[in-house]
Structures are given as C-alpha cells and as structure tokens.
C-alpha cells in the first residue's frame, strides 16, 4: 500500500535512466537488489534500536520503574547513545581464542537474519522475493544462526562460552522440530509454502482460528528459538555468565545483540504472517497492520520474559521432545484428517 508504489516508481525511474544513457540492462535488477538490501538493512537497524528501547521500557514498567528517561523524550535516543558507546569500545580478543572463527562468528549469527527478511510480506506487494518455498526457506535460513552461535562459543576459548554454545545448539535444534511441524498445519491449510499465498488464504478468517494448538506450539517453540526468557538457557546469567557471548565486546557483541533482537522481530513477523492474517486488516494500510500484529507478538514475548522463571536444561529438553513434539504431531494428524474428510 505504501512501500510497493514507491518501489515501483523508483524502479521505473531507474529503468528510464538506464535506457536514456544506454547502460547495460543488467543494471536494472542490480540496482533493485541494492535498494532492497539498503531497505532491509536500514529497517533492521531502526527496528533494533526501537526494540531495545521498547524492551527496556516495558521491563521497567512491569517492575514499576521508568527505565531510560534522560536522553531524548522518555529516553527514546538512549539506544543510539548506547550504540555509539559500543562502537567506541575496545574490541578485545582473548588470547586463547580461535581467531578467524572468533571474528567471523558474529556475522554468521547475524547474516541469516537479514536474508530471512527477504520473504517477509510487509504489506500488499511489499515482499522482496515471494519464493514458492517461502516458509521452508525461512526456517532453513534461520537455523543457520546456530552455526554462528556455536562457533562463537567454541572459538572464545572459555568454558562458559562453550557451555552456552552447546546449550544453544541443543536447544535450537530440538525446538526447530515442533516449530516447523506447527507451521506445517498452516501450510496444509493454505496449500502453498508461498508467503503471499498464505496471506491470501487468510483473507476471510485468520489461521489462528483453525489452528489454535499450532499457534500455541509455535509461540512456545519460537520463544525457545530466539532464546527468550523461560528458555534463555544458552545465556543464563546465573549459571554461565552470558553464554556464548561472554568474550565478545564492542561491535562484535553488538552484532550478536542485533541478531538476537532482529530474530525476535522475525519470529513475531512469521507468527503474524502464518497465523494472524499477515498484512490484511481493515481501513488502514497493510504495513501498519503487519507491524501492529508483529509488535503485539513481540510484546507477548517481552511479557513472558518478565513473568516466567527459567527452565532447567533437562526440563527444557523433555518439554520439547516429550510434550511439544507429540502435540505438534497430534495437531498435524487432526488437520490432515479434517482436510481429507471435508
């Protein structure tokens, strides 16, 4: 509604420029890709700055504090100041670390998040590539995140980092299964893995009405996927300091932080698209509805964080394999039966 006309106008203008000056035609898609990359990068940067501020504000108000109040209106520029501080910080490298892996791990953790935003439908037509394997691509890409986390934990040369990395790997891999299985119910209903088709299929009723159990499983598994609090075992402060990012400082730490918050929004955006009708909503433009639904889920995750105590490692694993996985299969079987019978 907003983004699509602007982008197509930009594209037409650039095509005109290319035609006028007789530039090679491959410049058209190349420029488009660059614009898209800049848009996603800028969106993620602004989003994470806002999300960190929101997290601090929400957590403070849950504890009846104010949170940041000094920098800007109600501390709204506080995160910018913090980011500037992080850039100035010394980038320490521990002596016992595996240097190349240590340096590359933050980017390994962050890059998949950017890539995953390619298939997120922000509004009507505001999707960069509506791949026909959209959902599969999304879950395949976000899982690569684990490699960044575990290599960061391994390369730091610290027992806390290593434990955090291992825990993270175990947790992410086991929660990936119920997560994908819960999304499978939606895919069966929509009959397509294309994000656009899934949103179109929800033009009348949101899939959360047909798949309430899948939605609950998805939210639980998603919380574990992005290491939010009831499942934040990989960075349990009281046990292993900060998990896989103990040894990181400066911009490398900022990359891990960026990845964590961008992932949180990503998982909320997927939930909004798969279960809550995506960008569809009355009167207001689709971008607004998409952001509103995503932020509702993000707020839910934040409330989880300040309500529920952390699980133990064994509880976490048995919950995933003995409880969520059978439930997800049950949901899948019921969905299949209903689809066949009706």
């Amino acid at each position: 509604m907003i983004i699509h006309p602007v982008l197509s106008w930009l594209n037409e203008w650039w095509q005109g420029v290319v035609a006028t000056y007789g530039l090679p035609s491959c410049f058209v898609p190349a420029a488009q890709m660059v614009v898209h990359a800049i848009l996603i990068g800028g969106f993620i940067a602004v989003l994470v700055l806002f999300l960190i501020w929101l997290t601090r504000k929400v957590s403070a108000h849950i504890q009846q504090r104010f949170g940041p109040m000094r920098v800007g209106w109600h501390g709204s520029v506080q995160t910018v100041a913090d980011a500037l501080k992080l850039m100035q910080k010394e980038d320490t490298t521990p002596r016992s670390c595996d240097r190349p892996v240590f340096n590359i791990a933050p980017f390994l953790a962050f890059a998949p998040t950017i890539v995953a935003f390619v298939v997120i439908p922000f509004g009507d037509g505001a999707i960069i590539r509506d791949l026909n394997i959209g959902v599969l691509f999304l879950f395949a890409i976000t899982t690569i995140n684990v490699i960044g986390v575990i290599s960061g934990g391994w390369a730091s040369g610290s027992k806390y980092s290593l434990l955090g990395g291992f825990r993270s790997a175990a947790q992410l891999v086991s929660y990936e299964v119920p997560l994908v299985l819960s999304a499978l119910g939606v895919i069966m209903l929509a009959g397509s893995m294309k994000m656009g088709a899934i949103v179109d299929a929800q033009s009348r009723i949101w899939f959360v009405a047909y798949q309430p159990l899948a939605f609950v499983i998805y939210i639980i598994a998603a919380t574990a996927e992005v290491n939010r609090t009831p499942f934040d075992i990989p960075e349990a402060e009281q046990e292993i300091v900060a998990g896989f990012n103990v040894e990181y400082s400066g911009m490398k730490f900022a990359m891990f932080f960026l990845a964590e918050f961008a992932n949180m929004f990503l998982i909320a955006a997927i939930a909004a698209t798969l279960f809550l009708g995506g960008w569809r909503g009355p009167w207001l433009p689709g971008e607004f509805w998409f952001l509103a639904k995503s932020f509702a889920i993000v707020l839910l995750l934040m409330f989880f964080r300040w309500t529920y105590p952390r699980l133990r490692v064994d509880q976490l694993m048995s919950f995933a394999w003995k409880f969520l996985l059978p439930l997800a299969f049950l949901n899948l079987i019921i969905t299949g039966l209903i689809l066949v019978l009706i």
Binding site: V58, A60, I62, Q64, F66, M69, T307
Partner: protein
C-alpha cells in the same frame, strides 16, 4: 487414572501460567514509583534526621560547654574540640568545635548524649561537595541551619 491426573496437572499448570501473565499485566499498568531524583525530591517527613547541627541559644550563639561528652561517644571520631581553662570562669571556654561530616555516620549519639541541648539533627541530606575540605564544618557552619521550633529536643 494416571492419565487423568496428568491432564489435571496440565490444566492447573496452564491456569497458573495465565495467572502469572495477569499479575505482570497488572503491575505493568500501575504507576511507576520511581522518584526522578534531581527533578523531584521525596517528601520529607517532619522529624527527618539528616546531618548534625548546633542549636542556637537565646543570644544566637552556640550552647556548647566543652564537656566533650559527644567526642567520647562518637563512634566515628569525627568531632574535634579545642578548649581552655580561664580564670574566673566556671568550666571550659570553647575555642573551636569542628565536625567532619565526611566521617560522620549520622548515628545521632552525640545529640543523645548532649546534656545542654547544644546539638540536633537537621533535615539536610544533600551533602555532596567537590572538595573534601568543604565537608569539615566549623561553628558558624554548624549554626547555619536550625530546626523548626516545635521539634527542638
């Protein structure tokens, strides 16, 4: 029967998860209780006890008799007194009386022990200064702030 018990526990557990979220939401909607310190200050209660001050007598001067009881009782040893004997005068003459507020622990024992009501705790608590020397309070400085009459010891 174990199945039923498990289902019961599941329902109960889910209910308590819900109760937890309701509690969090309630606290989220309440007003924050933080006092934004330099902008706002808390309301001082009437008999708030801040730093030590000397109580002015009827002539406006201090009431100290240099008996040194306060020095004896002070656990932080922050009071210094200079005194001498003078012919024809009963007791001592005070030359100097200094309290180092930087050492003071605000216990109020000196006020308790003073037989002549020469000391009191006044409601002043923002004592930060840029120089340690400014924390050493002599007699004029100790007399500079007085209690409201109704709260005299």
């Amino acid at each position: 029967m174990r199945v039923f018990r498990a289902i019961g526990r599941l329902v109960k557990g889910t209910w308590w998860l819900f109760v937890g979220m309701v509690t969090t939401t309630k606290h989220f909607l309440r007003r924050a209780i933080t006092i934004q310190y330099p902008k706002e200050r808390f309301e001082q209660w009437p008999r708030f006890r801040g730093r030590v001050a000397m109580v002015a007598g009827d002539d406006g001067g201090h009431k100290c008799t240099a008996c040194a009881q306060c020095i004896r009782v002070c656990p932080a040893a922050c009071i210094t007194l200079e005194r001498h004997k003078e012919g024809g005068v009963k007791g001592f003459v005070v030359d100097g009386y200094v309290i180092d507020i930087g050492l003071c622990i605000y216990c109020g024992l000196c006020v308790e022990v003073c037989n002549f009501d020469a000391l009191a705790m006044v409601p002043e608590y923002e004592m930060s200064v840029y120089d340690k020397a400014e924390l050493v309070y002599d007699i004029p400085k100790l007399l500079s702030r007085q209690l409201e009459p109704e709260f005299k010891k």
